[in-house]
Symmetry: C2
Subunit: 209 residues, 2 copies
């Protein structure tokens, strides 16, 4: 379900934008996020919100999809290491902003109680439009675009899964659990160095995906 | 504030255990976790809970500290790779259990809105007894114990920060955001291989911590 893509256009786009803004503002203020609260803040009817997004999880998923899918453009610096550094720094900056961090925290909190993904032998992905998986949908696409550009230049590149595991995961772990980092530059530089340096040497070894 | 350590003993230990169990049960059932709810479930006075834990965040922090600090013992397999594999597998198993995952999610949701840790130039750690940082306190100690044992055997070992960034972070990212993994064994094997293989070659290069 991708309501914002299914109903583009004038009034509909304005409603979507107002509703997403209301969700993020309420989260950042520490207010409870319910459909009536969001509707009141956005100045729309609660019934419209229920009809379009179903419930709070649908609202969070759509807000996360839009906010984390569009907020960090692919940098285009001309090298894989440069692109990953610029992109990683943008992720760190974003995760340090109260609104984005509140949305990440709320999406994680709304995740499924029983994760199929980590069960041994299970290969079923989480529901594609759950709020928590929506946070990473745009990230995966952006990583794949960066890696495709590197491959087109003839650069050795790790898999998108490796970028998620070793660049996105440490940044999000630090943001979500409040781990200290010396500085954004040092953190991202080290993570990218670890990711890019072994890629040439280990390009033929097995990869997760 | 470490109430469970400050007040060991018979009745106090029983109360602590009953309160922690009530917190985790309510979370796993998707019930709201409030001090009155926890007190009622645990069969203790709400005033005792307020006096001892302060508020819900104090309750979550203490429950996370105990649950994630004690649930995965250092394996002692005799090699760094073996210890990291066994420990990583235990983390994956734990994060796949509904009660532990619910506690992780709730601790993340209760985290500070404004993270000092990721601000450029800031070296201030998060409050040591916040619920979200408490989830990683035991993990850090366990990683340090594993690495100290490796160093005592004369093995080259990465830093504890690198273990958090590249073994714990990918496992927690997958659990919290519902990313699919081929299987626990394949995931942990690959993560440990990436972590341990370059340690010998890069032992003299700069480390985060």
């Amino acid at each position: 379900m991708t309501p914002t893509m299914a109903r583009p256009g004038g009034r509909s786009a304005k409603v979507t934008e107002a509703v997403h803004r209301a969700v993020v503002e309420l989260l950042a203020e520490g207010e409870p996020v319910t459909v009536p609260q969001v509707a009141a803040r956005a100045g729309v009817n609660a019934t419209s919100v229920y009809r379009r997004w179903g419930d709070v999880n649908g609202l969070l998923a759509d807000a996360a999809l839009v906010r984390f899918g569009t907020s960090a453009a692919v940098p285009g610096t001309g090298s894989l290491a440069g692109d990953l550094r610029a992109w990683g720094s943008a992720l760190v900056d974003e995760a340090a902003r109260p609104e984005e961090l509140a949305l990440l925290r709320a999406a994680v909190a709304a995740g499924p109680a029983d994760p199929p993904a980590l069960r041994a032998g299970s290969s079923a992905p989480a529901a594609p439009d759950s709020a928590c998986s929506a946070c990473l949908t745009g990230r995966s696409s952006q990583a794949e675009a960066i890696l495709a550009a590197a491959a087109a230049r003839g650069e050795q590149a790790p898999s998108a899964t490796r970028v998620l595991d070793h660049l996105v995961a440490p940044i999000y772990l630090r943001a979500l659990f409040g781990l200290p980092a010396p500085s954004v530059e040092v953190l991202v530089e080290l993570l990218v160095e670890r990711l890019v340096a072994p890629a040439a040497a280990q390009a033929t070894s097995s990869e997760l995906g």
